[in-house]
Symmetry: C2
Subunit: 135 residues, 2 copies
Amino acid sequence: MDLKQIAKDTAKTLISYLTYQAMRTVLAQLSETDPPRALWLQQFSARQNLQEGEAYLRALLAERPDLAYRIMTVREHIAAEVLDYLPEMAKTGIQQANMEHRRSHLERLTSAPGSLPVTHPEAGSPLQNPTPETE
Amino acid sequence: MDLKQIAKDTAKTLISYLTYQAMRTVLAQLSETDPPRALWLQQFSARQNLQEGEAYLRALLAERPDLAYRIMTVREHIAAEVLDYLPEMAKTGIQQANMEHRRSHLERLTSAPGSLPVTHPEAGSPLQNPTPETE
């Protein structure tokens, strides 16, 4: 497991996602103040691959630099405001989700129609209908 | 701009991405130790939408709980190892990328065929061969 490479790739994904959120923020602002420009940005963004944040900005810079600069400024602002909270939020989110998955998997096992009656292992009665889940 | 909602959505995206990286890690391990299971996981994952990490795990839990549990454990481990570095990496990455976009946009402006020759306003003689770097 190359944790350094994973960290780098994750940072890149994170930046692209913040670029997408910045685009949406600028889009919402323009919808209020300048609907035709909002429409243009919406159509442009629908044609682009927003999973590649930097390629998106390069393409936008070539066509409407004013909008590209605005999105760059907004993503820097969003980054400054939210990034520091993310490690804790993501760690807690993963722990809770893992716990929830384990809980509901156990529930499914114990409530499955063909599941084992809950007996002591040494009880001696053969299994009626063993399912793949039971082990 | 609803920063709280953006932070929540970003954490969710981040968790799904770490789930994807955990799947890839488990896949790489299985390729060494148990190629048939690696193949199964690869085909299963190709059919699923990995952008929804929890839905992916729920589907996997229903078919191969052992693999789902392993991915859950690995993503928790990856999260513990990389998350704390991400805010700084992403902030620096955004600042550098923004700077790079501004620089190359300026370069394109000054090297465009129709652009003004770069001269001192009072010099009077146009430069023979203005390069993008001159300013």
